[in-house]
Each structure stands twice: as structure tokens, then as C-alpha cells.
Chain length 317, copies 2
């Protein structure tokens, strides 16, 4: 019997995409990008995204609930930012065990609130229910003013591939039994998109390798990155050493970094790097988009050109 263990989450999402709505009319982007886009009026579009986090899958019962709440909200802000949008309104549903301690529930919600304040998100509604496992579902609405928003499919051959911040932090925190709270580079992304400097963008939730494959596939292209350029944090290096892991592998496949991966036309790369500086956002050029037939490759430390395995996190795997 075909079940989801063999079927895989991505196949199910494909099913969702197929059987649900297609973009058209005021709905400019439907299921399949970081957020949906619907045009409210000329010069203003609303963005919408939703995430569900389940104990035992996305976080563990031993993790501090305050941080679990923070991360839940931040990951949604990241989706809106990946379209170049500003986050506005949030809806929060939470399922708690019947015997949950009040303090646990309160801290989890406080973490969501704290992070919402940080990004000027107003929590406008919610639902609380009982469940066998703690479950958080957040829907977030945002906007882009002007005509521009970033999608995954906009990359062109020759575009520079750029990433914000440092990578491997999500995996490094997990190795230390911790939970990484990203700082979402939303202000930089909004301004870069508004200025027309970004051709395609995605947020790094499942890992750099997986997200790069997404950008390439959706844009009908290949890609090349130089492994030596991948920006590692001090924490990533430290935890990798302590746990005898390859730091670059953590950065490529670890996920939960919530940095932004985007592509830029060569003529705009200087302006983008300057904007990064003015927004206090570290930017690193990793490589370039290639023709589709080149595939998605990286140059390893030995200088050899290799296919980049696509190792995203599949919740059903």
C-alpha cells in the first residue's frame, strides 16, 4: 500500500498544488513559492504564508517553549521576507496537551509575541485546542507596495547567487540541543526587491543545497557555487569540531538557518552589496546561475566540480 513514508512530503505538496487553486486573476502566485501573492489594488499586493510546527518533528518537548514560539513566528516572517514583503498580521493556533502546564503554554505564546513585536507583526486572531502533541500553526500576512515581489522562478543565466548572513547555525544549535532564533533580513530584502535588484529569491529553511535546487528548477536553470565561499559562523565551526561533523555539510544540508538565498543580475551586484552594507546585512556571493544542462554543481576543496546532492529535510522521510 502506498503510504506517505514512501510517498514523501514533497509528493504530497505536489498533490496539494495540483488539486488546489492555480494562480490567475488577482492571485499572482499560488501554492509553491514561499508565500502566496494576491493583488489588492494596483501598486499593492498582499502576501500570505502558513506553517505548522509539531512537537517531536520540528521541536522537542525539552526545548524552551519561549524559543520555540520565537522560532515559529520568525520562520513565517522569513517566508514573507523571501518575497520582498513586509509582515503585517498573524493568526496563531496552538494545540496543547490536556495536562500541559500553564507556564509552558504562556511562555510559548510569549515567545511568539516577542518575535512579533520585533518585526512589527500584529497578532490579530487565534485558536487554542487540546492535542496529543503540542502543535503550533501560524498564518502570516504581509504586503509589498509597488509592483515588485520576488519569486523563485525569476533567475536568469549569469545571475550571481548571493546569500545573507552565515549558514549552519540551525544545525549547530541542534547539535548543542539548542534552538536557533534567526534574525530575518527583512528590511534588506524589502528594499532590494522594491529597487528591482533581485531576480529570484527563496529562504533557507531546509538547507542551502535543497534551496539552490529549488531556485534552479523553478527558473529552468543550472547553478554553480564554490564551496569555499559558503559563509560559516563561529558557532557552526565550533559545534562541527566538537561533534566531528563537516562544518560545510552542516551549512549545505542542516537547514533552519532562515537566511535569504537570491540571484542578482551582474549589472546590479555592486548596488546590492552596497545596500547590504547600509542595512547591516552580511552578503556573500556563492556562484552563478548556469544553463540547465550544466546541472547544479559545486567546486569542492580539491577544486573538483561535483554535482550538489539535494539533501533537504523531508518531514516524512
Amino acid at each position: 500500500m502506498k503510504n506517505l513514508r514512501t510517498f514523501g512530503e514533497f509528493a504530497l505538496i505536489a498533490e496539494l498544488k495540483k488539486s488546489f487553486v492555480k494562480a490567475g486573476g488577482r492571485l499572482k502566485v499560488a501554492i509553491g513559492d514561499d508565500a502566496a501573492v494576491f493583488e489588492e489594488k494596483a501598486g499593492r499586493s498582499l502576501l500570505a504564508t502558513t506553517d505548522m510546527l509539531v512537537e517531536g518533528v520540528h521541536f522537542s518537548a525539552s526545548m524552551p517553549p519561549y524559543k520555540v514560539g520565537q522560532k515559529a513566528l520568525a520562520s513565517n516572517v522569513s517566508d514573507i521576507a523571501a518575497m520582498g514583503g513586509k509582515s503585517l498580521y498573524g493568526l496563531v493556533s496552538a494545540g496543547f496537551r490536556k495536562n500541559v502546564r500553564y507556564k509552558y503554554a504562556k511562555e510559548l505564546l510569549s515567545g511568539i509575541k516577542k518575535e512579533a513585536l520585533k518585526y512589527n507583526v500584529e497578532i490579530i486572531g487565534g485558536d487554542t485546542v487540546s492535542s496529543k502533541v503540542t502543535t503550533i500553526s501560524i498564518s502570516l500576512f504581509g504586503e509589498v507596495t509597488g509592483k515588485r515581489y520576488a519569486v523563485r522562478s525569476g533567475a536568469k543565466e549569469g545571475d550571481f547567487i548571493v546569500v545573507t548572513g552565515t549558514l549552519g547555525n540551525g544545525a549547530a544549535a541542534l547539535l548543542g540541543k539548542g534552538i536557533y532564533i534567526p534574525r530575518i533580513k527583512a528590511a534588506f530584502a524589502q528594499e532590494a526587491v522594491r529597487a528591482g535588484l533581485i531576480r529570484s529569491m527563496i529562504d533557507i529553511s531546509d538547507g542551502l543545497s535543497s534551496e539552490l535546487h529549488h531556485l534552479a528548477k523553478e527558473s529552468g536553470l543550472g547553478a554553480f557555487i564554490d564551496i569555499k565561499t559558503v559563509p560559516l559562523s563561529a558557532l557552526t565551526k565550533k559545534r562541527a569540531l566538537e561533534n566531528r561533523k563537516n562544518a560545510y555539510r552542516l551549512a549545505l544540508n542542516g537547514g533552519e538557518d532562515y537566511e535569504l538565498l537570491f540571484t542578482v543580475a551582474p549589472k546590479n551586484i555592486r548596488r546590492v552589496l552596497r545596500l547590504g552594507k547600509s542595512k547591516n546585512t552580511k552578503l556573500t556571493v556563492l556562484g552563478v546561475m548556469r544553463d540547465k544542462k550544466c546541472g547544479v554543481k559545486f567546486s569542492d576543496f580539491d577544486g573538483e566540480l561535483k554535482y550538489l546532492p539535494r539533501k533537504g529535510y523531508d518531514h516524512f522521510a
Copy 2:
């Protein structure tokens, strides 16, 4: 140790309300009504609501997934309708067991889709994850054009109390191990609110008694209904008889009917009843809103005036 079992869901929601955002600025209604209201521009407000449904709490594993999906979407449409709004966009998150059969997941999503089509809702985004229990979280966005929307707190002393459709259907279906799919009286509610005919409104998710207490409390009033007027469906009567239950008790406390309970100024009651007829929506006048000091009462079959117990469904009870 204080835990949620003793604390109760409503106390937690109160905590959510307290610690989360308050209405103000463009946010006209925040947490606490059927849906949040934020003013997009003069003459147009967006409505937002969210619900989380958990297997073993809101539905059972043996229920047909298609109908579970239908009900999940319909209950959200009901929340938007209770504000006088038109449902527009939905976000659907679903948590499935790792060993879920593909057919189960597909049918559940198809049920959501079917019901979305019925009310012209576009599903614009979603998330699928693995979970120990099947979990569905739907966020729904709608709109009201014009300045009016219905809230729970708008009732005035002397208002007639009116309900759409028949009651007890949710409880009756459950007694037959079935699941009731309501027809949401959204078109009637939209027109009645736009015409300024409705002073306060709530949808019946937890049961007539509980919702009437909500309307009274939020409006700072008491209420009186005549038990003999409560409209029972043939199914409610049949199932009550079969199961030796009191049909009126099913109607008062059963919940999951998703009919609309609202109040109307005496001068408008004729227009409302006429509108009901033209929209093919059965309406029943149950009683009147009273001064707060009268409490929430009903006249029983023996003609005696009694306090109406508030028996809403508490997920944590």
C-alpha cells in the same frame, strides 16, 4: 500544579487576548470575536479567522476524511459569515501520521477543496507536515464592503433574538457516528449586515446556550428565550428518541451546528424575516435581549422561568 485541565480553554484564550494585541488603529476587532477585522481602506475591511482541528478531539479517525475536510472549511466560513463577511482566501495546513494512507490525505484535502468551491473560497497556500495525530489548521480571509460588520457586543435591550436554520444537527450526527456538514447562511448574513439590520451576531459552534451567554455578556445584557421556539430538525428529534436524549438539550448544548445567532432591533424584524425568505434561509425568533440584571433565562415547557446553564464545549474540560 495549575494545569490546563483545571484551568480551562477559555481561561487560556483570555490569556491569549490579554497578552496579545488589542484593537486600535486599522485593527477594528482583535482576538475575541468570530473573526478579526482590519480596515484596508475606507469602505473595505478584511476579516481573518483561524481554527485548528485535532483527531481525537474534534473528529475521530473513523470518520470519513472527505467530510472532515468539508467541515473544517465550513466552520471557518461560518466565522467570517458571523461578522457579515464574504470569505475569499484560505490557507490550509495539515499534519498527517507518517504511515497515513495517501488516499486518506487526498480525500481530506478534496473535502476542503469541495467546500471551498461551494463558498467561492480560493485556497492560496498551505503546509503539510508529519504529526502523531491528524491535525488540520485553516486560516480564512474575507471582506466586508461598506462600513458595517457584525460583532458580538452590539446587542441592545429589547432586540429580538433570532437564529438561522435548525439546531441539534451537529449533536444528532455525532450520535449516529456521523459528521454534520452545515450549509452556512453566508449570503443572508452578508446582505442583512450590509443593510444595517443586524445589531450583534455569533455563530453556533459550541451550542446555543453557550453562544447566547456570549452575546449577552459581550453586550452587557441579559436575555430571555422561550424553549418551545427552538427549531429542531427531524434528524435531531429522531436521534434524540433513538438515544433517549432530550432533543432540546441537544439543540441547546450540542454544538457544531454552525447556524447564526443574532439580534435585531424591533423596528427591523419584519425586514429581516422578509430577507430570510428571499434568501431561502429559515429564521426563528427565540426571544429578546433583557437588562443585565435579568440574567440569561429561558421559559421551560412547564412555563417556569429558569436560568439557562451555560454548557459550551470546552476542549480541555
